[in-house]
Protein backbone atom coordinates (compact mmCIF):
# COMPACT_ATOMS: atom_id res chain seq x y z
CA UNK A 1 0.00 0.00 0.00
CA UNK A 2 1.14 3.53 -0.70
CA UNK A 3 2.36 5.49 2.33
CA UNK A 4 0.60 8.70 1.33
CA UNK A 5 -2.85 7.08 0.96
CA UNK A 6 -2.37 5.18 4.23
CA UNK A 7 -1.59 8.37 6.20
CA UNK A 8 -4.46 10.29 4.58
CA UNK A 9 -7.03 7.57 5.33
CA UNK A 10 -5.90 7.38 8.95
CA UNK A 11 -6.25 11.12 9.49
CA UNK A 12 -9.66 11.26 7.79
CA UNK A 13 -10.92 8.55 10.17
CA UNK A 14 -9.42 10.34 13.21
CA UNK A 15 -11.20 13.56 12.18
CA UNK A 16 -14.64 12.10 12.97
CA UNK A 17 -13.64 11.23 16.54
CA UNK A 18 -12.22 14.69 17.09
CA UNK A 19 -15.42 16.35 15.87
CA UNK A 20 -17.51 14.09 18.15
CA UNK A 21 -15.36 15.12 21.14
CA UNK A 22 -15.78 18.80 20.21
CA UNK A 23 -19.57 18.44 20.20
CA UNK A 24 -19.52 16.83 23.66
CA UNK A 25 -17.32 19.65 25.01
CA UNK A 26 -19.73 22.19 23.51
CA UNK A 27 -22.59 20.57 25.44
CA UNK A 28 -20.67 21.18 28.68
CA UNK A 29 -19.88 24.79 27.70
CA UNK A 30 -23.58 25.52 27.13
CA UNK A 31 -24.89 23.60 30.16
CA UNK A 32 -22.08 24.39 32.64
CA UNK A 33 -23.78 25.46 35.87
CA UNK A 34 -21.01 27.83 37.02
CA UNK A 35 -18.40 30.05 35.35
CA UNK A 36 -15.38 27.84 36.31
CA UNK A 37 -17.12 24.85 34.71
CA UNK A 38 -17.48 26.74 31.42
CA UNK A 39 -13.86 27.91 31.53
CA UNK A 40 -12.73 24.34 32.15
CA UNK A 41 -14.66 23.07 29.12
CA UNK A 42 -13.38 25.95 26.94
CA UNK A 43 -9.81 25.07 27.99
CA UNK A 44 -10.25 21.43 27.05
CA UNK A 45 -11.85 22.45 23.73
CA UNK A 46 -8.99 24.85 22.93
CA UNK A 47 -6.23 22.34 23.69
CA UNK A 48 -7.94 19.69 21.60
CA UNK A 49 -8.52 22.18 18.75
CA UNK A 50 -4.77 22.91 18.83
CA UNK A 51 -4.00 19.20 18.57
CA UNK A 52 -6.57 18.92 15.76
CA UNK A 53 -4.87 21.75 13.84
CA UNK A 54 -1.50 20.01 14.18
CA UNK A 55 -3.01 16.74 12.90
CA UNK A 56 -4.75 18.51 9.99
CA UNK A 57 -1.50 20.17 8.89
CA UNK A 58 -0.32 16.76 7.67
CA UNK A 59 -3.54 16.21 5.70
CA UNK A 60 -3.47 19.67 4.07
CA UNK A 61 0.36 19.65 3.66
CA UNK A 62 0.56 23.15 5.11
CA UNK A 63 3.26 23.70 7.79
CA UNK A 64 1.93 27.17 8.60
CA UNK A 65 -1.03 25.65 10.54
CA UNK A 66 1.21 24.55 13.42
CA UNK A 67 2.22 28.03 14.72
CA UNK A 68 -1.48 28.98 14.75
CA UNK A 69 -2.04 26.11 17.18
CA UNK A 70 0.63 27.68 19.40
CA UNK A 71 -1.30 30.98 19.40
CA UNK A 72 -4.51 29.13 20.36
CA UNK A 73 -2.79 27.45 23.31
CA UNK A 74 -1.45 30.79 24.54
CA UNK A 75 -4.92 32.36 24.33
CA UNK A 76 -6.41 29.51 26.37
CA UNK A 77 -3.75 30.12 29.03
CA UNK A 78 -4.51 33.86 29.01
CA UNK A 79 -8.21 33.08 29.55
CA UNK A 80 -7.30 30.88 32.53
CA UNK A 81 -5.20 33.57 34.15
CA UNK A 82 -7.72 36.36 33.58
CA UNK A 83 -10.65 34.35 34.96
CA UNK A 84 -8.58 33.22 37.95
CA UNK A 85 -7.60 36.82 38.72
CA UNK A 86 -11.19 37.99 38.35
CA UNK A 87 -12.53 35.28 40.67
CA UNK A 88 -9.98 36.01 43.37
CA UNK A 89 -9.98 39.82 43.43
CA UNK A 90 -13.09 40.77 41.37
CA UNK A 91 -11.04 43.02 39.06
CA UNK A 92 -8.91 42.47 35.96
CA UNK A 93 -5.90 44.65 36.81
CA UNK A 94 -4.51 47.53 34.81
Amino acid sequence: MDLEIWVENFIVIAMFFYVAAFLLYTVRIVRGPTVPDMVLAIDALSYDLAAFLVVLSVLFRSPIMIPSALVLVLWAYALDIYVAKYLESKELGE
Binding site: E4, F10, P36, V58, I66, I81, L87
Partner: protein, 128 residues
Protein backbone atom coordinates in the same frame (compact mmCIF):
# COMPACT_ATOMS: atom_id res chain seq x y z
CA UNK B 1 8.47 2.99 -2.67
CA UNK B 2 8.80 4.05 0.92
CA UNK B 3 11.55 2.51 3.00
CA UNK B 4 11.15 0.45 6.17
CA UNK B 5 12.36 3.31 8.39
CA UNK B 6 9.70 5.65 7.02
CA UNK B 7 6.97 3.05 7.57
CA UNK B 8 8.19 2.46 11.13
CA UNK B 9 8.13 6.21 11.93
CA UNK B 10 4.63 6.56 10.47
CA UNK B 11 3.28 3.56 12.40
CA UNK B 12 4.73 4.82 15.70
CA UNK B 13 3.20 8.23 15.04
CA UNK B 14 -0.17 6.73 14.17
CA UNK B 15 -0.21 4.69 17.39
CA UNK B 16 0.42 7.91 19.37
CA UNK B 17 -2.33 9.78 17.46
CA UNK B 18 -4.72 6.86 18.08
CA UNK B 19 -3.99 7.02 21.82
CA UNK B 20 -4.69 10.75 21.65
CA UNK B 21 -8.03 10.25 19.91
CA UNK B 22 -9.05 7.66 22.51
CA UNK B 23 -8.11 9.95 25.41
CA UNK B 24 -9.98 12.80 23.72
CA UNK B 25 -13.24 10.85 23.48
CA UNK B 26 -12.88 9.60 27.06
CA UNK B 27 -12.22 13.13 28.35
CA UNK B 28 -15.25 14.51 26.49
CA UNK B 29 -17.55 11.82 27.89
CA UNK B 30 -16.20 12.33 31.42
CA UNK B 31 -16.61 16.10 31.11
CA UNK B 32 -20.34 15.39 30.63
CA UNK B 33 -20.67 12.63 33.22
CA UNK B 34 -18.66 13.93 36.18
CA UNK B 35 -20.77 15.60 38.89
CA UNK B 36 -18.95 18.81 39.88
CA UNK B 37 -16.11 21.21 39.09
CA UNK B 38 -13.36 19.63 41.20
CA UNK B 39 -13.94 16.19 39.70
CA UNK B 40 -14.02 17.62 36.17
CA UNK B 41 -10.45 18.81 36.68
CA UNK B 42 -9.41 15.18 36.21
CA UNK B 43 -11.21 15.05 32.85
CA UNK B 44 -9.34 18.20 31.77
CA UNK B 45 -6.04 16.51 32.64
CA UNK B 46 -6.90 13.56 30.40
CA UNK B 47 -7.93 15.94 27.61
CA UNK B 48 -4.88 18.20 27.82
CA UNK B 49 -2.08 15.66 28.30
CA UNK B 50 -3.45 12.48 26.72
CA UNK B 51 -5.63 14.21 24.15
CA UNK B 52 -3.34 17.06 23.02
CA UNK B 53 0.30 16.46 24.05
CA UNK B 54 0.57 12.87 22.81
CA UNK B 55 -0.99 13.36 19.32
CA UNK B 56 1.27 16.38 18.71
CA UNK B 57 4.34 14.19 19.38
CA UNK B 58 2.73 11.57 17.12
CA UNK B 59 2.37 14.13 14.31
CA UNK B 60 6.09 14.87 14.66
CA UNK B 61 6.81 11.17 14.00
CA UNK B 62 4.35 11.03 11.07
CA UNK B 63 5.87 14.15 9.47
CA UNK B 64 9.40 12.76 9.92
CA UNK B 65 8.43 9.61 8.02
CA UNK B 66 6.40 11.21 5.20
CA UNK B 67 8.52 12.30 2.22
CA UNK B 68 5.39 13.41 0.30
CA UNK B 69 5.12 16.43 2.61
CA UNK B 70 8.02 18.09 0.81
CA UNK B 71 11.12 19.88 2.09
CA UNK B 72 9.26 21.70 4.88
CA UNK B 73 8.45 18.53 6.79
CA UNK B 74 11.38 18.99 9.17
CA UNK B 75 9.93 22.36 10.07
CA UNK B 76 6.69 20.53 10.88
CA UNK B 77 8.58 18.08 13.11
CA UNK B 78 10.25 20.84 15.11
CA UNK B 79 7.17 23.05 15.36
CA UNK B 80 4.98 20.15 16.51
CA UNK B 81 7.43 19.25 19.29
CA UNK B 82 7.73 22.89 20.42
CA UNK B 83 3.94 23.35 20.48
CA UNK B 84 3.54 20.07 22.38
CA UNK B 85 6.03 21.04 25.10
CA UNK B 86 4.55 24.54 25.51
CA UNK B 87 1.04 23.08 25.70
CA UNK B 88 2.19 20.55 28.30
CA UNK B 89 3.55 23.32 30.55
CA UNK B 90 0.72 25.83 30.07
CA UNK B 91 -2.14 23.33 30.55
CA UNK B 92 -0.93 22.33 34.00
CA UNK B 93 -0.18 25.90 35.07
CA UNK B 94 -3.51 27.29 33.86
CA UNK B 95 -5.55 24.49 35.40
CA UNK B 96 -3.82 24.97 38.74
CA UNK B 97 -4.47 28.72 38.62
CA UNK B 98 -8.18 28.39 37.98
CA UNK B 99 -8.65 25.60 40.54
CA UNK B 100 -6.92 27.66 43.24
CA UNK B 101 -8.93 30.78 42.39
CA UNK B 102 -12.20 28.82 42.43
CA UNK B 103 -11.47 27.37 45.86
CA UNK B 104 -10.36 30.67 47.39
CA UNK B 105 -13.31 32.67 46.00
CA UNK B 106 -15.88 29.94 46.91
CA UNK B 107 -17.36 30.18 43.40
CA UNK B 108 -18.18 26.45 43.57
CA UNK B 109 -19.32 24.72 46.75
CA UNK B 110 -17.06 21.83 47.78
CA UNK B 111 -19.68 19.10 48.07
CA UNK B 112 -19.59 16.17 48.75
CA UNK B 113 -16.36 16.30 50.76
CA UNK B 114 -14.62 14.20 53.37
CA UNK B 115 -11.86 16.58 54.41
CA UNK B 116 -10.70 20.02 53.19
CA UNK B 117 -7.34 20.99 54.66
CA UNK B 118 -7.14 24.25 52.69
CA UNK B 119 -10.37 25.51 54.24
CA UNK B 120 -9.27 24.39 57.74
CA UNK B 121 -6.00 26.29 57.35
CA UNK B 122 -7.84 29.42 56.30
CA UNK B 123 -10.21 29.20 59.29
CA UNK B 124 -7.26 28.72 61.65
CA UNK B 125 -5.48 31.77 60.20
CA UNK B 126 -8.64 33.83 60.63
CA UNK B 127 -9.11 32.91 64.29
CA UNK B 128 -5.55 33.72 65.34
Amino acid sequence: MASVVEWALVIVGQVLVAIGVFCDIVAAILMIRFPNFYVRLHALTIGSVGGAFIPMIGVAFIAAGSPFLGPYRWFMVGAAIVVAIIEFILAGAGTHAIARATHRSRAVEVYPKVVDHLEEDKLREGSE
